[in-house]
Amino acid sequence: MSTSFAKKTPFITRPMIVLFLALGTFPLWGTSVGLYDYLGVEIVIWIIYALGFNLLLGYTGLPSFGHGAFFGVGAYSYGLFQLNVFESVWLAVAAGVVGGAVVAGLVACFISHRRGIYYALMTIAFGQVCWFVSMKWHTVTGGEDGLLNVHRGTLNLLVTDASLKDNADLFYFAFAVLVAVVLILWRLVHSPYGKALQAIRMNQMRAGFVGYNVWLIKWSVFTLSGAIAGLAGGLFAIAQESAYPDVMSLHASGFVVMMTLIGGGFVSFWGPVIGAIVFFVARDFLGSITETWLLWYGLMFMGVIIFKPEGIAGAFQDFVAKRRARVEN
């Protein structure tokens, strides 16, 4: 062969380094620009959540509008494990992951042969069921108030123990989890599995005729996405020292959809990251000048869908392409 088209996927890329350096040092510079450590924690948690969600929406093209359910199940699993089973941050977070995965895996059994609008609707229906259960099953979930006595606990790091009481310490823990999630998902989307997800998005029937087990891939990606949502939910329970039904509502599920889209999840791995950051900065920034920041955020979302459905990442890619074209001419 004269030319080889093989192009190795690096384990670490430039955007990753930028993200890790900029976000990882947040507690060092955040307060000096008027932000606060807890904001960093929220952003990191929602980035994890949105990255996992984008496996479904952006990569596989499966619209899930009830994803808050798995985030919530993760939070409850964390709290219930800590309160009833064993006092360990690691194991309780693992319980969150398993909780999210198990519930998502069950739901996926009902929906993985579907797509499009029926898929969206079934995810809404299951999301609402989870939300109702969390509100009404008082003895386990604590009803509308949620689990109240969750505490942050101490992280066992083998050589030493670290308390997560301080928001900055919690931030570093959540950030370490984010780094692991980014590295793993980056490999995943460049593996045959990641390509198969995209192939299913573009042409599900052909993917089947090429030989892929479409049902199993759709089932597994939903479950995986639910597990990551559960992970984020577990971290959220630490951060909030609580688990409550609100995060499972249709509204909260809608937020992760909007973030992922505004950021540009359809065209970029980094879309959900951008989207989550924009969401929280918009909330704090707009929220400080107007009570009704959601109105403006909603208008922004509509604007993105109407004029640039590829989102911020898509606009950035266009900009780079245009500049490259100009340089070449």
Partner: protein, 247 residues
């Protein structure tokens, strides 16, 4: 033993019988054609043979094994590939990615998340080979959705070839191609027929008569004639419908 056999296939949708009773045999190393007027049941027949539809009665055998009603992915895994009449590419992938995802090793590793699909030069080389076979060398990094019509047709066949099939089904490959494109496709398939066993469904008689070793004519859901192009030229029905003149 024939490579592929369809035995007394019957298919209906609701009350409407589309395939009355179809029996076909395709031999290894040959190019077999299926033809017939529009609405004769060609497409349904093709979809039943390749596992897209399940027949109401009858059997489909491949290499002596009963494959009736198996899901398409299983049939694909056994070595049968098909192209589509309406194009079914992965439009947002590049040309070479379209081939890469269809390689059997990619399918086999579909749950191996540690494997770097684009970083494996033996796989990309193989994909480039497939593209060379269908005449798309030099277009590897183009987005499939941006290709002109004729090249999309070629890629459509390339994706089917990527699975290294022992039997290749092509559904109306000349559909939508001009005279020029059809001539080029004829050349390409003439080349492929040296290495692959192929079944083509086609309404362009001239095209089929020039390429096929045997042809089956389907009408009213039945096989009404079968034989080599020469034998068919003398067939009553073919003569009556004047399609023989074209060939």
């Amino acid at each position: 033993m024939a490579l592929f056999e369809a035995i007394h296939l019957h298919k209906r949708f609701g009350d409407q019988v589309v395939l009355e009773d179809i029996s076909l045999t395709f031999e290894a190393g040959q190019l077999s054609g299926i033809m017939g007027p529009n609405g004769a049941g060609k497409s349904t027949c093709f979809n039943v043979l390749t596992g897209h539809y399940k027949p109401n009665a009858g059997k489909v055998m491949f290499e002596g094994k009963d494959i009736t009603g198996l899901p398409p992915r299983v049939i694909a895994g056994m070595g049968i590939a098909r192209s589509f009449q309406l194009m079914n590419l992965f439009d947002e992938f590049t040309v070479i990615e379209n081939i890469l995802v269809a390689l059997p090793e990619s399918v086999a590793k579909s749950f191996n998340i540690g494997h770097d699909i684009m970083g494996n030069s033996s796989a990309t080389d193989r994909a480039a080979d497939v593209l060379a076979k269908v005449g798309l060398t030099g277009r590897e990094l183009e987005l499939a959705g941006n290709l002109p019509y004729g090249e999309r047709r070629a890629l459509e066949i390339g994706v089917a070839l990527a699975s290294e099939p022992r039997l290749l089904f092509l559904d109306e490959p000349t559909q939508g191609l001009g005279a020029d494109g059809t001539a080029r496709l004829e050349e390409l398939i003439g080349e492929l027929k040296k290495t692959y066993s192929i079944v083509i469904i086609e309404h362009d008689m001239k095209f089929l008569f020039g390429l096929a070793d045997t042809i089956s004519v389907i009408h009213w859901g039945q096989v009404i004639a079968q034989g080599s192009p020469d034998q068919l030229r003398d067939n009553e029905w073919v003569r009556a419908s004047k399609i023989g003149d074209a060939a």
